[in-house]
């Protein structure tokens, strides 16, 4: 790609100098190469075999997909009737009986059926585990053990096995035992992390004043990536010592244990947070505002100087002197914040999203040239819808979306693997979702099915 006006950047002089242009052009070469095809490059964990056993649990399904994207051989084991996760899909929309989330996450997997309740199935399973490095158990805690194929038994068989358990309350502690029978979903896992209690407006009418869940599978995706990163961490120990171990993920804990702010707030305030609508607890303005053209603009002003920049852009410098707002870090005075918010809403509504975006960019560009850098960098941008995002040239250049062409399911779009890596890039090689589609290949490869 040739440098055009959009991607030419002037860097400040004090750090650069001789050699800068050369360095940047070599960097561009590396990036161009990275944005090309991953074909021919190795995967990061090509040497790893993963077995996935999950039941209606996308944290397990996604975690196995991610390991597959990094190159592992992933064998998904399903009962003869299939994983019920196949039917978890918005409004029941499906392609040939396969739900859309299942379609999107059936990345680089081999689909194998095996009846784990039968002794033949268990024998095959043990044979497979013997050759595997990782087992993902996303069924009810204790149920694999009850079948004689849980961590206690399998670690005897294969001491190098990394056994990854994913469940609502984990596999240890008194609570894990008490609730082992309660299945997992994203919504309940969000609740267990206290995530909905941060969203919504208590002043709205019923039921709009309720705690509100995140509109994506925030807990399932967080749990999945925690599980994958935990697995890769356990694999490092295995590579050094040959030793496997158990890795335990509690989906009811995933968001709060990784984001941590909820614990910080609770510990230092000794009380729960009160939901404050679209305000942030640390920053203002930091949210979405309606514009003249009926759209929304996102306004993000993290620092005090940025906030002052917003007032300048909106032509409301008079507010800066108002005693009610005359302090920095105003977010603790919600009543006055609401008054200030009303003023800002009023001003934003006088402009279109495009006007505000170009005004804030011009302001920030000018501020960046100021030696003192005290004018702030307020950001105002148009709120994108998913169809807008799909059309964006930037993501096309980066191949952030990938169109799949499936013999049964037809053409469909999926988000590509992240992150981009220069030597061993993750990638989607195939999507397969037929029940038992790979029985022959896997049974032959591992010498299974002899008992039948």
């Amino acid at each position: 790609m040739k440098a055009d006006s959009e991607n030419t950047q002037v860097f400040s002089k004090h750090l650069t100098g001789k050699g800068t242009l050369k360095r940047l052009s070599m960097f561009d070469k590396l990036l161009t190469e990275m944005m090309g095809s991953a074909e021919g490059k190795p995967g990061a964990i090509d040497d790893i075999t993963v077995i996935e056993v999950s039941q209606a649990n996308f944290a397990g399904i996604i975690s196995a997909a991610l390991l597959g994207e990094f190159g592992a051989e992933v064998i998904k084991i399903e009962p003869p009737e299939g994983d019920p996760a196949r039917k978890i899909t918005p409004y029941g929309k499906n392609v040939d009986g396969v739900g859309l989330p299942f379609l999107m996450e059936s990345r680089n997997k081999y689909n194998v059926t095996m009846d784990l309740n039968s002794s033949e199935g268990q024998e095959d399973f043990r044979k497979l585990v013997n050759k595997a490095d990782v087992l993902i158990d996303a069924v009810k805690p204790g149920s694999m053990d009850a079948l004689g194929i849980g961590y206690r038994q399998l670690k005897q068989l294969n001491p190098g096995l990394v056994y990854v358990a994913i469940s609502p309350y984990g596999h240890y502690t008194a609570k894990a035992k008490e609730f082992h029978n309660v299945p997992d979903t994203d919504l309940t896992a969000q609740a267990g992390s206290g995530y909905p209690s941060l969203t919504g407006d208590p002043a709205a009418e019923e039921p709009y004043n309720y705690p509100i869940k995140a509109g994506i599978w925030a807990a399932w995706y967080m749990s999945a990536v925690l599980a994958t990163t935990g697995t890769l961490t356990a694999l490092m120990h295995k590579r050094k010592t040959g030793e496997g171990q158990m890795v335990d993920i509690a989906t009811n804990d995933a968001i709060s244990a990784w984001q941590g702010f909820q614990l910080v707030w609770g510990f230092t305030m000794e009380q729960p947070r009160v939901r404050i609508g679209n305000f942030d607890w640390c920053l203002f303005p930091y949210g979405y505002y309606k514009t003249k053209d009926g759209g929304y603009v996102t306004v993000a002003a993290a620092q005090d100087a940025d906030f002052r920049g917003v007032l300048k852009i909106l032509g409301r410098w008079d507010l800066e002197k108002d005693w009610r707002f005359l302090f920095d870090r105003i977010t603790d005075d919600v009543e006055n914040l609401k008054k200030l918010e009303t003023e800002i809403k009023k001003e934003v509504a006088k402009h279109t999203s495009k006007e505000l975006a170009s005004k804030s960019l011009a302001y920030s560009a000018k501020a960046a040239r100021s030696r003192l850098r005290s004018k702030g960098f307020p950001i105002m941008i148009e709120l994108k819808t998913p169809p807008d995002v799909l059309k964006e040239k930037h993501w096309q250049i980066r191949k952030s979306f990938q169109e799949m062409d499936h013999p049964v399911c037809g053409k469909f779009m999926i988000p590509a693997s992240v992150p981009k890596m220069s030597e061993s890039p993750p990638r989607v090689k195939w999507i397969k979702c037929g029940i038992g589609e790979d029985n022959e290949y896997i049974y032959n490869k591992y010498g299974l099915g002899m008992g039948k």
Partner: protein, 453 residues
Amino acid sequence: MKESCSEEYFSFLDKIFDHSNVSEKPESLKGIRVLDLSRVIFGPVVTKWLGLFGAEVIKVEEPEEGDDWRTGTYWAKYWKDSCPYFQSLNPNKYFIGMDLKKLGAKELILELAKKSDVVVENFRAGLAEAWGLGYGTISQVNPRAIYISCSGYGQWGPLRFFPSWDLIAQSMSGMARLTGFPGKETYKLQDYYGDFFPGLLGAMGVMAALNYREQTGKGQFIDMAQVEGLMRTMLNWTYMSVVGEDLERTGNDDPSMAPSGIFKTADGKFVAIAIATDEQFLGLVGALGRTDLAEDKKFRETFERLKAGNAKELDRAVEEWVFTKTEAEVISAAKTNSFPAVPVMDDWQLVNDSWRRERGSVTLFEDDMYGEGIWVDSPVALEKTPGRVKWLTKPIGYHNRYILKKLLGLSEKEINDLDEKGVIGYWGNRVGQRPPSYWDLENDPIFNYGNKK
């Protein structure tokens, strides 16, 4: 699958995951050194993961300025001259103060990079490369280095220089319009999900690269784009391409689960219930005393149940039932009848939750500088090489002597010269940067590392 609860299984696991002897267990990433040039949340949580599992993380900050979160606050709260939020983002790190703009600083960074396994930065795209601190330069002095650049839009493409924060990334990915009731206010995902989730993906990338290097000896460059990280979680792309229209926000219904929602109990609490399978549905209607619903052809089968009108009808039935039950009754029914239901927790409950303490994801922790506190700990449990918080943060430049003497072999005189020239430095006298007022710096053996009293 067969249901059974084995006492021995759970007591075996309680033993192997016993949190009280975590400090005696080995660490997966011991011996891995990380040079952390990042700030705020997105970059620092990549190194938080590495630090939790035993890597030595050296965080470089600008003297008297430091990471923006040091002086940030929520509702004007500080704790012992520090921002508690910054503490929770940066445990187990070594803090050095260095002014990259000063002559001689770059050489020191490159010396540290030579001795490091992972380098992390989240400046504007291309900036580190322009400075001569990018992958191009560092891979020449250290071909085994894994270098991750965290940015809003990635290092390549026309948007690469566009600014980004958590909220901006949520807007640019299309995620911003997905939370909230239809036709009502749209909400952001709280507590900087737009930083934490992509940051975790960055840590995942680094862990994959470390696994690759273990096999081949090769380092590599990782381009982690915040917005792509968020897009990876959205079903909208697949849905649009198959169904031909976009998915709109749905309040508290998960359109993939029917019934589903957050419901109010008789004692005024909130409980989340979501039904993913036929089996769970049978459990729920049993609890509701409405086994007739399972016979109804509108609800009998998952795909039918999920149709918008049918799902609504079921949501109402659940709503009415929950309204007559206490939270405890609903949860007890979920246990007996095996369907997903969990109370909506709040911040204060999380802090006091005995389950989390027992699990070890939240710990009552004694820090050498800040004393006792309740902190979030390792987000996943590893039986043999568990993650752990060993210390909270330290003031800017606190580990200057410790790192520069121990790793680069600098003398006290050389360090003082660097200090005089402003190449290295320390905290400014501001809350968030300085040590707590009670701290005796003069007798602190780490701050004065290598100096005999």
